[in-house]
């Protein structure tokens, strides 16, 4: 007995992307989501705004699958970056140009622009890799296609020209600190890029391989946008779109167990006691939750060990400050909510903040990215703080939360001196909160660390890199699969393509 052609566990961006792909190819699909709304980690919220506040890498192919076509792009507003400096000489970065707030150019020799151009060139290359399953994971049948793809990628490398190609092959392996400081003085611009490279990561700017993360972040050409009507509205759009595609959605119900018979998936048992039957299950939760749902007796011992060894330390917290009124910024032209505010005055500062995290503390001088959000008649300042360990020494009690908020407010007061008086309410959402609410170990931004030993064919583990895991019919479609996290949707899309191919 079969209820659906496929069941998707988890309705985050990747679950949505997978479901829409399958459904647009005529499959009947249901999404099972334990939260009351779809959107997953990105849309996670308590009283205040959602966890994610910006769109880095939203993939046009995903949007197209959803049948949203071009309309959604009218709904996006591009966002400028303000680098907050203690000296008061804040810098605005707009379309890879950098200016002081009074309009003077910062980047007088153009080296920042050159650097960001180089990054977007690399981004184009990586994007091609992101839009497909990793090389070498194809089953025998399709390996010629795989080789062709490899050749095509080789060609696009070659087309960079000899010297650019050499540079690429070195740059992509470097640590972001060296990469930046070779061309830029250490200061707010280098700080900004090193913060962007390490956001969501358990690695500091001096860790080899972090240039890859920076390229990943700028994968779609250094363009940074936010949904004009807010993140909640954006996810509403997506939900309406999948409903139009006839995807069934069950929210507020946990998938407890993946039913397996004779080493093949038969369906999913839900917390309400019902079972949904299907021969194909795509799971977008963290791998550890997947392991629990499958039961270790159905996994190879080597796979169980790889899952245990997966590095999933979460390092991002969200602090939402509810303000009595908007502070006034005389120097900032244009709407204040079209900017993000970065506190990362130098690479050294970012590296220092990371150091604390290694030993189970958060830094007293944190790296943060903040945006102003208006909801109904409320004003929120919503911040992502980097290098906040899920495994905090002493645990995440009320005092620790309060302390994290104070540390943030203090570091922002260089920019908003009156901030403390404006706060009427606040909430601190720790990596552990994300982990508990979402079934994502450690509350990691990408579900598992994006380091060179956990990407491409090695993502999430070498044996699972073809989106397949364990018993027949079980697929992985969350961020822990290639290419990884952000509101991007490619992990889900790639997984769905794999399902379609295998069930043809």
């Amino acid at each position: 007995m079969i209820d659906y052609d496929a069941i998707v566990i988890g309705g985050g961006i990747n679950g949505i992307a997978a479901a829409s792909m399958l459904s647009s190819k005529g499959k009947s699909v249901v999404i099972i989501e334990q939260q009351s709304e779809l959107g997953g980690m990105a849309a996670h919220k308590r009283e205040g705004p959602t966890a994610a506040h910006l769109l880095w890498n939203l993939n046009p192919k995903v949007i197209k699958d959803l049948g949203l076509g071009s309309i959604s792009f009218d709904d996006l507003t591009s966002v400028d970056t303000i680098c907050v400096c203690e000296s008061g000489n804040h810098i605005r970065v707009k379309n890879s140009g950098a200016f002081y707030l009074d309009g003077r150019v910062v980047d007088t020799d153009g080296s920042f622009r050159k650097l960001t151009n180089r990054l977007s060139r690399y981004g184009v290359l990586l994007k091609k890799l992101a839009e497909n399953a990793p090389f070498g994971t194809d089953d025998k049948l399709n390996s010629t296609q795989d080789i062709l793809r490899l050749l095509r990628f080789g060609l696009s490398l070659k087309l960079l020209g000899k010297s650019q190609m050499r540079k690429f092959l070195q740059d992509i392996l470097m640590n972001v600190s060296d990469f930046l400081l070779d061309d830029l003085p250490d200061g707010p611009l280098a700080g900004l890029l090193s913060a962007d490279a390490t956001r969501g990561q358990f690695s500091g700017p001096r860790n080899p391989g972090t240039v890859f993360n920076l390229v990943y972040r700028y994968g779609h050409g250094c363009e940074l946008t936010r949904p004009t009507k807010g993140m909640e509205n954006f996810f509403e759009l997506l939900v309406n779109a999948i409903k139009k595609l006839n995807v069934d959605v069950k929210t507020h119900v946990r998938a407890e167990k993946i039913v397996i018979e004779e080493d093949a998936v038969k369906g999913v048992e839900l917390a309400d006691g019902t079972t949904v039957f299907s021969n194909t299950v795509l799971c977008s939760s963290g791998l550890n939750s997947m392991k629990k749902m499958v039961g270790i007796s159905y996994l190879d011992i080597e796979d169980s060990r790889s899952i245990k060894n997966l590095r999933t330390m979460g390092t991002t917290a969200k602090v939402n400050l509810k303000l009595s009124k908007l502070p006034i910024f005389e120097n900032i032209k244009g709407p204040i909510n079209d900017c993000r505010f970065i506190v990362a005055p130098s690479v050294d500062y970012v590296d220092n903040a990371f150091n604390s995290c290694k030993y189970g503390h958060f830094s007293q001088t944190p790296v943060s990215e903040s945006v102003f959000t208006f909801r109904q008649s409320e004003f929120w300042l919503s911040s992502i703080i980097q290098f906040v360990p899920s495994k905090l020494e002493g645990g995440w009690n009320e005092a620790a939360r309060e302390h994290l908020k104070q540390v943030l407010v203090h570091s922002l007061s260089a920019f908003i001196p009156s901030l403390n008086e404006l706060i009427v309410d606040f909430e601190v959402i720790t990596p552990n909160d994300f982990a508990e609410d979402l079934g994502v170990e450690g509350g990691n931004w990408h579900h598992s660390e994006m380091s060179l030993d956990q990407i491409f064919n090695l993502r999430p583990t070498p044996r699972f890199s073809a989106y397949r895991a364990g018993p027949k019919g079980l697929y992985l479609c969350g961020s822990s699969s290639h290419p990884g996290g952000d509101i991007m949707g490619l992990s889900g899309r790639n997984a769905a393509i794999r399902v379609l191919r295998n069930t043809k």
Binding site: G136, S163, S203, P208, R311, L452, D453, P462
Partner: protein, 545 residues
């Protein structure tokens, strides 16, 4: 008699790689001159007597990486080289315990189970994994790295070899290999073991000589770099060169001279003589000039091109790439003349592991903190020490009854931070003394009486190593071993074939593939490349060809 001025080839620097390159070229029939700035040879593979009766291996101190193919080709045993393996080692703890490391599999298993039965089992898996990586990498050491952007037959055939080796591994092993190469040693050990002391003991090899911490990606490779050698086929085993590491250089010198090589010591080169984009010879600091159509530099890539080549002779891009090459000083060293043999109270009398490498670090976090201090421009308050007393096995190192101790110290920055300024100039005599006190404190964990046995001590800061050996920043590998600076990226993308934009000018030091350590491979690879491309009637013969 007018001294000879013209040669077929000149090697600049008598470090072991320069000597290897010189010896191969001389064997092939070239007239070769080696010029060395110091009054002695060997570079960082040197033995000197700074305190009468005692011999120090002043820089490098243990041998394993040296390619046996080279030792055979150049007949080093015939010219006096003997490598004596040592077995085992230990890590001592503050509370009077220790973990001993034995090369005997069963003894090691028993010892590890004293701390954790689970880890004793895991060690099997760990050793297999590391050994597999060693086997994979070893054939690449005596080959050139292909330039992936080039379609020259040489590069294509090396590329084909690489792909073939990778393909032979099969998908799973290839993925494991890729993972291993990009991992941190801390994560790799955490995957296998639960005991902190064991992890700390094994992790040392992943950070020696590098400006990286145990949790920095790429350090698993650095560990491999220390394990991929062998002694008489015992992969991963280490030993002492009888007479100190200088014995390797001496044997090389003898082999070189036997084939009519000429060595000129005591004056370094001032400039490479370059005309119309071609190298013509070298001009020494003492005013002498020597000429040859081939000049091979044993100095690191920065020193070679930024200090001794006129800047007009090099394209801008190349100079920029050389400037970007990372050579970071992160190590210091103590060489100690001991009166008598100091007591190690926690170890049994005459324990075999006292003849091996000893450490006093108890956890990976302690190592990571040591690294953080280095990043901040300080030397580590609790440094990682790798100490050995070779005179127990090699009696030539110290008077009878007395001993020589070599202590390698990780981390010490080149640019020391004092107040708000960072500069190598801060390495004054007092600060070297203070550094040695920190190190002796650390050693006291294992050997509380160490201070009362000290007869003489040489303290080597990164600055001092740089000044004497010419290793930029005192970096022991002539350049960081991070993956952006390995294989075809070493030293400069596009120049991994030992050549340079100046015709006839080559480099053969540890800045080149496959990198640092007393290995000889860069020298041999450079010699082979030169003979292949520059000479029609001379060939490299032997195992390394």
């Amino acid at each position: 008699m007018e001294a000879k001025k013209s040669f077929d080839a000149i090697v600049v620097g008598a470090g072991h790689n320069g000597l290897v390159a010189g010896a191969y070229l001389a064997r092939a029939g070239m007239e070769v001159l080696i010029v060395e700035k110091n009054d002695w040879i060997g570079g960082a593979a040197v033995s000197r007597s700074l305190n009468e009766g005692w011999t120090y291996s002043n820089c490098s101190y243990v041998c394993s990486l040296f390619r046996r193919e080279i030792a055979r080709d150049l007949e080093l045993p015939k010219y006096g080289l003997q490598i004596i393996p040592y077995e085992g080692g230990a890590s001592f703890t503050r509370d009077g315990n220790y973990l001993a490391y034995y090369s005997d599999h069963y003894a090691l298993r028993r010892e590890i189970s004293r701390f954790s039965a689970r880890d004793a089992d895991a060690y099997q898996r760990y050793a297999t994994a590391v050994m597999r990586q060693c086997r994979f990498i070893r054939p690449f050491l005596l080959r050139n790295a292909p330039d992936p952007t080039s379609v020259r037959p040489r590069d294509l055939s090396e590329m084909a070899f690489l792909i073939k080796r990778g393909y032979e591994l099969g998908t799973k092993e290839l993925q494991d290999t890729m993972r291993f190469w990009t991992m941190s040693i801390g994560d790799f050990l955490d995957e296998h073991f639960e005991n902190d002391l064991l992890k700390a003991h094994l992790a040392g090899s992943g950070i020696i000589g590098t400006g990286l911490g145990v949790y920095s990606p790429g350090t698993a490779y650095v560990l491999l770099h220390h394990y991929m050698g062998d002694i008489d086929g015992g992969i991963g085993a280490w030993g002492f060169a009888r007479g100190g590491m200088g014995a390797i250089s001496e044997a090389l010198e003898n082999s070189f001279k036997h084939h009519n090589g000429r060595l000129q010591k005591g004056s370094g080169i001032d400039q490479f003589i370059i005309k119309n984009g071609k190298v013509k010879g070298v001009a020494l600091e003492n005013g002498d000039e020597f000429y040859a159509p081939l000049v091979i530099s044993n100095m690191d890539v920065k020193r070679t091109f930024l200090n001794h080549v006129k800047t007009e002779a090099l394209p801008e891009d190349f100079k920029k790439a050389v400037k970007r090459f990372k050579i970071r000083g992160s190590s210091a060293k103590l060489n100690i003349s001991l009166k008598g043999f100091p007591k190690f109270p926690s170890a049994p009398q005459n324990a075999s592991f006292l003849r091996g490498d000893m450490h006093c670090t108890e956890s990976l976090l302690e190592l990571e903190k040591a690294y953080d201090q280095w990043k901040a421009g300080e030397w580590s308050a609790n440094p990682y020490v790798d100490m050995l007393i070779p005179s127990q096995i090699d009696p030539t190192m110290a008077p009878k009854g007395d001993h020589m101790m070599t202590v390698f110290v990780q981390y010490a920055p080149y640019e020391l931070k004092v107040g708000n300024s960072r500069s190598a100039e801060h390495w004054t005599a007092e600060r070297c003394k203070a550094l040695s006190e920190s190190v002796l404190d650390q050693i006291s964990i294992a050997c509380p009486n160490i201070r009362s046995h000290i007869e003489h001590m040489e303290v080597r800061s990164p600055l001092e190593i740089e000044k004497e050996v010419g290793l930029t920043e005192g970096n022991i590998f002539q350049g960081e071993l991070t993956f952006d600076q390995l294989f075809f990226n070493r030293p400069i993308p596009g120049y991994s074939d030992y050549s340079s934009p100046v015709k006839g000018l080559y480099i053969c030091g540890s800045s080149t593939h496959p990198g640092g350590g007393v290995m000889g491979a860069p020298g041999a690879n450079a010699a082979r490349t030169i003979l292949q491309t520059q000479s029609k009637n001379m060939h490299m013969t032997g195992y390394a060809s």
